[in-house]
Amino acid sequence: MRNAATILIVEDDERIRNYMRTVLQSSDYAVLETGNAKTALSIVASHNPDLVILDLGLPDRDGQEILSEMRQWSRVPVVVISARGLEKDKVAALDNGADDYITKPFGTDELLARIRAALRHGRQRYEGERTVFSGNGLVVDTERRIVRVDGQPIHLTQIEYKIVTLLCRNSGKVLTHDYMIREVWGPFSNCDTQLLRVNMANIRRKIEKDPTMPEYITTEIGVGYRMIEMD
C-alpha cells in the first residue's frame, strides 16, 4: 500500500534526520528533508507537503518564528519536536499554530502515531463542522446537547459541557490550558488554570469509567489536555 502523503522533515541533526527518513520511508511516506529554516520555508512554498516535522532548535532561525511565518500563508499540519522539560516551548509552538508536538527522545511508534493523527486533522479541516462525535462509548451530540457514555446520559454543567465540546471539536489534538480558558470563559476572564483543573476533575468523575486512569481526556503535563480521536 502506498501512503500518498509527502512529509517534510526540518531537523538540523543529520543522524536524527536519517533515522526519521528511514522510519517514514519504510511506512511508505514520501520524504523531503532540510537542515535549515530558510530552505524549509521555500520547500513548503514550492512542494506543498502534506505535513511538516519541525525541530524547534534550528541553528539559523528560531523555530517559533518559522512556525508563525509559515502560518501566515500555509495551513499545512506541523508537528514540532521539542525536549522534555521545555514545556513552555511546546505551549508557545501550539499557540503559534503547531498541530502537535513530539518529545525528544521519541520512539518509532510514537512518531508514526503522531504523524497519522496530524495528517488526519489536516484532511478533516476541509470536511466542515460536525455535530456528533463518538469514540470508545462516549457520544457527544452538539446539536441536541446530549452527552452519553455507553448509552447512559451524562449531566454536565454549562462550563463542563463547553469544555467537553471544545475538546471534541479538536479531538486528538492537544489544547493548551490558556487556549481552553480563552475559549470557555472568554478572552477577558481572569480565570486561572486551577478552575480549569477543578472542572476537568469533575468531568472525569462523570464520564470516565476509572477517573484515575482517564481514557477519553488525557493530561499533557505542563501543556494541556487531549481528547482521544473521535469519529
Partner: protein
C-alpha cells in the same frame, strides 16, 4: 518553617512586604492592648516596657530584614512614652531611664533581626551545599555507571556491523535488544540528571504551579505501564480533588522513579500501588509494593547517591541510588519530605509529602498537620 519561605523571600534589608507589615501591626496592636489592660487593672506601668520589648523581639524574629524590627522599636519607644507612662497621652522625654529603654529596644530589634536573617541564610546555604554535594556525587556515580551501558552499546553495534548475516538471527536480535535496552536506560538516566538542572541552585527552589495530584499520578502510571508489565500498577485516589503547588515535570519524575524502583528492585512484587491523600496542609503520596522490602541496613543511606554504593553487584543496583537521590532533592526543593520504610505486611513503602499551600499561608492549617 523558614525553609518553606526560602525561595520567595529575598534577603534585603529594607524590603516591603504586606505580610511583614501585617505581622508587625498585629503584634504591636496586641502589645498595646495588653498594656492598656494592665493599666486599667492598676500598676501596669512597670511591665509596659517589658511587654513592648517582647513585642519588638517577636516582630524582629517573625519578619525579614531589619526594617520591621527597628520600626517596631521606634513605635514602641514613642508609644510607651506617649500612652503608658506619666503623663499619659503626652510626650515627655525627661523621664529617668528613658534613654536606656530607647537603646535597649533598638539593640534588641537589631540583634534579633540580624540573627533571624543569619539563620535563614544558613538554612539556605546548607541546602545549597547539600545540592552541590549531591550534584558532585551524581556526577561521580554517573560517570562510573555510564561506561557500562556505553561499552555494551558500542560493543554490540560493532559485533553486529562486522558479522551481519554471519551470526544467527536470534543472536542478532538479542544484541539489538541489548542496544535498545541500554540506550533507554541512558535516556532515563539523562532525564533524571536534567531534572536536577530545573532546580534553582541558588535559592534551592522550583517554579511551582497548582496542579491536580491525580493528573500527575495518572500520567506517571500510564507511562510506567507502557514500560513494565509487572508488577502491575494500581492507583488509590480519594474522591476529592487534591491540588498542590509543584513543578509537575519533576513530581512526575519522582513518581516514575519510585515506580521504576519497585519494578526493578522489589523482589517478588506482584503489585505496586500509588496512593494520594490529604493530611492537614500536605498532600501525601505513597508508593507501596508487596515485594521483599528494603534490607534494614540499607534504609539509612537509601537516598544518598554515592559512587561507593555502586560497587555491589553490578546490574541490579544500577540506577537505584541515583533515582532515589534525585527524588529526595526534588521533594526537598518543594519543601516536602521523602521517607522510606518497610510496610508491616512486608514490602517497601515510600512516602513523600508536598505542602498544599504556598509558604506564608500554611500556618493557617498548621494545627492539623500530621506528624
Amino acid at each position: 518553617m523558614p525553609r518553606r519561605q526560602l525561595g520567595k523571600r529575598r534577603e534585603r534589608m529594607l524590603l516591603f512586604s504586606w505580610r511583614d507589615t501585617g505581622v508587625t501591626a498585629l503584634i504591636l496592636a496586641g502589645a498595646a492592648m495588653l498594656c492598656f489592660l494592665m493599666r486599667f487593672m492598676g500598676d501596669g506601668e512597670n511591665y509596659v516596657s517589658m511587654v513592648l520589648l517582647f513585642a519588638v523581639a517577636l516582630v524582629s524574629r517573625m519578619t525579614s530584614g531589619y526594617f520591621y524590627g527597628v520600626a517596631a522599636a521606634v513605635a514602641g519607644v514613642f508609644g510607651v512614652n506617649y500612652a503608658f507612662t506619666r503623663p499619659y497621652m503626652a510626650f515627655c522625654f525627661s523621664l529617668t531611664g528613658y534613654p536606656l529603654t530607647f537603646v535597649t529596644m533598638f539593640a534588641v530589634a537589631i540583634l534579633i533581626s540580624g540573627m533571624t536573617a543569619q539563620l535563614k541564610r544558613q538554612v539556605r546555604q546548607n541546602y545549597s551545599s547539600r545540592l552541590e554535594e549531591m550534584r558532585a556525587n551524581l556526577l561521580r556515580a554517573v560517570s562510573h555507571d555510564l561506561r557500562t551501558p556505553l561499552t555494551s552499546i558500542s560493543g554490540a553495534a560493532s559485533v553486529l556491523s562486522r558479522n551481519l548475516g554471519k551470526i544467527d538471527e536470534n543472536r542478532q536480535r538479542a544484541l539489538l535488544n541489548e542496544i535498545s535496552g541500554d540506550a533507554e536506560w541512558l535516556i532515563r538516566m539523562v532525564e533524571n540528571l536534567l531534572s536536577i538542572t530545573r532546580i534553582n541552585a541558588e535559592r534551592a527552589s522550583v517554579k511551582k504551579v497548582p496542579e491536580a495530584a491525580e493528573e500527575i499520578v495518572s500520567e506517571a502510571v500510564r507511562k510506567y505501564r507502557k514500560r513494565f508489565d509487572a508488577p502491575s500498577a494500581e492507583i488509590a485516589m480519594p474522591g476529592e480533588l487534591i491540588m498542590a503547588p509543584m513543578d509537575a515535570i519533576l513530581i512526575e519524575q519522582v513518581i516514575t522513579n519510585l515506580l521504576e524502583n519497585a519494578a526493578l528492585h522489589a523482589a517478588g512484587a506482584t503489585w505496586v500501588r500509588v496512593t494520594v491523600s490529604k493530611r492537614g496542609c500536605e498532600a501525601v503520596f505513597e508508593v507501596e509494593d508487596n515485594g521483599a522490602g528494603i534490607e534494614p541496613d540499607k534504609l539509612p543511606g537509601l537516598f544518598e547517591a554515592s559512587a561507593s554504593s555502586y560497587n555491589d553487584s553490578a546490574a541490579n543496583s544500577r540506577n537505584m541510588g541515583i533515582g532515589l537521590s534525585v527524588c529526595r532533592t526534588i521533594i526537598s526543593a518543594h519543601g516536602g519530605t521523602l521517607t522510606a520504610e518497610n510496610a508491616p505486611g512486608g514490602g517497601a513503602r515510600f512516602r513523600f509529602t508536598l505542602p498544599t499551600e504556598e509558604g506564608d499561608t500554611h500556618a493557617q492549617c498548621g494545627n492539623h498537620t500530621h506528624r
